[in-house]
């Protein structure tokens, strides 16, 4: 069983894609970031990626790093992340943690899985963990019935698509462009090609697409060929522009726009 697969199946039954919003915990501070997540849920986000701040976010662009640096300096850690997970759950959406590997390894892989399950989290997305290195994580997520989301990229071979899908539970994350996170003007062709390759090789798994979506039109475009539209930097931008209650509210407004986008036919 998989909480993420269930919520994605429900969206599909409604003939739409799910909206997945990312926000790191702790920017501008822990309560405001949690308020923003709750506003995103109210705006229509189905799944919230609760981001763990990390000092060396090698896969992220300038917007996310700008938000995460102060959170790292303020000492935001997994205890705060679990609080955000519980708050998202209480608000009625599905929380999934997004984290680089070292903070989880340092906390203890088994302990993290147990505490995440206790907080009501569905699982975790691990952008710098490939299945070959994930033995401990796979075991811990099996014990606690958690989802584990690995990434695929346009450069992934067919063999890697198959092995990564086999290791994943919930969905696979298709990184739609070669590059780091950030808002982009156009949805890349590479995304459609990658998703159709995954569908052909592994029709059973849900595929969500991320990197670069910032508005309802792009969300509609990506929704047309994916099970879930992942939006990160655009939400972070709301709080960077206005690091306060107004920014949290703006994240909610953006979620409502994007939620309309993923429902367009």
């Amino acid at each position: 069983m998989s909480v993420l697969a269930d919520v994605l199946a429900r969206s599909r039954a409604e003939h739409r894609s799910a909206l997945i919003g990312y926000l790191p915990v702790g920017y501008p501070d822990v309560p405001t970031s949690i308020d923003a997540m709750i506003a995103m849920v109210a705006g229509g986000a189905d799944i919230i990626e609760v981001g763990v701040p990390y000092s060396d976010p090698g896969m992220d662009g300038p917007a996310i790093q700008a938000a995460v640096d102060p959170a790292v300096k303020a000492g935001v850690g997994l205890r705060d992340v679990f609080a955000a997970v519980s708050a998202v759950r209480a608000a009625g959406a599905v929380p999934v943690v997004m984290s680089y590997w070292n903070p989880l390894e340092k906390y203890g892989v088994g302990r993290f899985a147990a505490d995440l399950a206790a907080a009501g989290g569905a699982g975790a997305i691990t952008p710098d963990l490939i299945p070959e290195e994930a033995g401990q994580w796979i075991a811990a997520t099996d014990v606690h019935d958690l989802d584990r989301v690995f990434l695929l990229a346009p450069s992934s071979t067919d063999a890697r698509i198959l092995s990564t899908v086999a290791a994943s539970r919930g969905f696979v994350y298709a990184a739609s462009t070669m590059g780091v996170t950030g808002v982009r003007a156009a949805v890349s062709d590479a995304a459609t090609t990658l998703v159709s390759r995954i569908r052909r090789l592994a029709p059973e798994i849900a595929v969500c697409v991320g990197l670069g979506v910032s508005n309802a039109d792009q969300a509609a475009e990506v929704a047309a060929f994916s099970d879930g539209v992942i939006v990160g930097s655009a939400f972070v931008r709301c709080l960077l522009d206005s690091p306060d209650a107004a920014g949290a509210k703006a994240a909610g407004t953006l979620a409502a726009e994007l939620a309309e986008g993923v429902r367009r036919r």
């Binding site: 662009g61 070292n102 490939i130 690995f150 990434l151 695929l152």
Partner: protein, 417 residues
């Protein structure tokens, strides 16, 4: 712990040195790493590649580098015989050129036209810019904004050589952030770009490849010491930043169980102050920059900023093979403070007429201690990984040599030798 002379079989086929190493990277880079691994394996089996690389190392870089008896310096090392492997005499002034020429040739075999690199002290950036000019590749070097200030001379050198130098202003604005920025560039441009990593760290196969390109240091030195002294050295000493010069000189001595391998880490103000870069002495295992290894981290797994007077050692991580050599007990790692390193720097200048890199001065300081511990019968081989021209300004400030202030600051005024 046990000594394992069969360390020669590491890494395993998936890039692990015991629990260390591996690949902790975004999926988008896996194909590129696989491609590098395949091409590197082919190149290693290709006599034409070996011939071209040794031709460049000989005719362009100036190998083999000499072995110098540091006779007057040795008097300060308990009378032990200190031998210097002179990587400072290589073209561009450090060991870095060995790895750079190897990887630049590999870039051509990969059919890529652009190389990117990170640099701390600027030595790796200069070496990379040099190889790019030589082989007609375009070159971008990422350097922490803090380091572009500390190492202004090397910034100018890279620009003269035709490279773009990008100052990095994210995070701590030093080497670790330059590496993050270079990885970002690589993910976005991997089709035409090779990331020419400057030390024996990072995801598999980088630690293996960088070691293999630097092994020449230890191979030459082992033969030179045997010929000069008639036996193997008691100790091989090298400074450890990411670990490339150290693994290069250590590697061929690993099966020689009687030879102690000692890595000297930058202890900055002292490991106990928290302001240091002594990753193995003061850190713990974790994941940074694509591999599992020792690193400086806090209780949340966030990387702690390192501190060292030496830009080239100012890095909170270390290559995975050193972590493994440490845990197995085959190598020892010791901390050397800024003050110890600068005293050894000054001593080598005055006793041997060699201005060493501040990085290498950490190894020299280690040799002074080891010599006193082992006594006059000992033979200590030191990797003099680079020359100190780039450090003249730092040293002038440190010793107060600027503005005619020579009296008060003369570091070895009372030198008995």
């Amino acid at each position: 712990m046990t000594t394992t002379p069969d360390s020669f079989s590491y890494p395993d086929s998936t890039g692990h040195f015991g629990p260390y190493g591996g690949r902790f990277v975004p999926e988008a880079l896996v194909a590129a790493l696989d491609e590098i691994e395949a091409e590197f394996t082919k190149a290693q089996a290709d006599p034409a590649f070996a011939a071209e690389l040794s031709r460049l190392l000989r005719d362009y870089a100036g190998r083999p580098s000499p072995l110098s008896d540091a006779e007057r310096f040795s008097e300060h090392a308990g009378g032990a015989r200190v031998l210097l492997k002179r990587e400072d005499l290589n073209h561009t002034g450090s060991h870095k050129i060995n790895n750079v020429l190897g990887q630049a040739l590999l870039t051509k075999r990969l059919g890529k036209s652009r190389i990117i690199a990170e640099t701390g002290a600027g030595q790796h950036g200069v070496a990379t810019a040099t190889a790019a000019a030589l082989l007609g590749l375009s070159c971008t070097v990422y350097m922490g904004a803090e380091d572009t200030r500390r190492q202004a001379l090397n910034v100018a050198r890279m620009k003269l050589l035709g490279a773009d130098v990008v100052p990095v202003t994210t995070g701590s604005r030093t080497l670790k952030d330059a590496i993050n920025e270079a990885f970002r560039d690589w993910v976005a441009n991997v089709e035409d770009t090779h990331y020419l990593f400057g030390t024996a760290a990072g995801p598999h196969p980088i630690p293996l490849m960088v070691r293999e390109f630097h092994r020449v240091i230890g191979q030459e030195a082992r033969a030179q010491v045997l010929e000069r002294v008639g036996r193997l050295p008691d100790v091989v000493a090298a400074c450890v930043g990411g670990g490339s010069n150290a693994i290069g000189i250590f590697y061929d001595f690993i099966p020689d169980a009687g030879v102690r391998l000692v890595g000297l880490e930058a202890a900055g103000d002292g490991v106990e102050t928290g302001r240091h870069a002594a990753t193995i002495t003061g850190g713990s295992p974790g994941v940074l920059h694509g591999a599992r290894s020792y690193l400086l981290q806090d209780e949340n797994g966030q990387t702690i900023e390192s501190h060292s007077i030496s830009a080239g050692l100012d890095y909170p991580g270390v290559g995975p093979e050193h972590s493994w050599l440490h845990d197995t007990g085959r190598a020892e790692y010791r901390p050397i403070t800024d003050a110890q390193a600068m005293a050894a720097f000054a001593l080598l200048c005055k006793t041997e007429g060699i201005i060493p890199a501040i990085e290498s001065s950490h190894a020299l300081a280690g040799a002074l201690d080891l010599g006193k511990e082992l006594g006059p019968d000992a033979v200590i081989l030191v990797n003099l990984s680079g020359r100190g021209d780039k450090d003249v300004e730092t040293a002038s400030t440190y010793f107060g040599l600027a503005a005619g202030d020579l009296e008060s600051g003369d570091p070895v005024a009372g030198d008995p030798a």
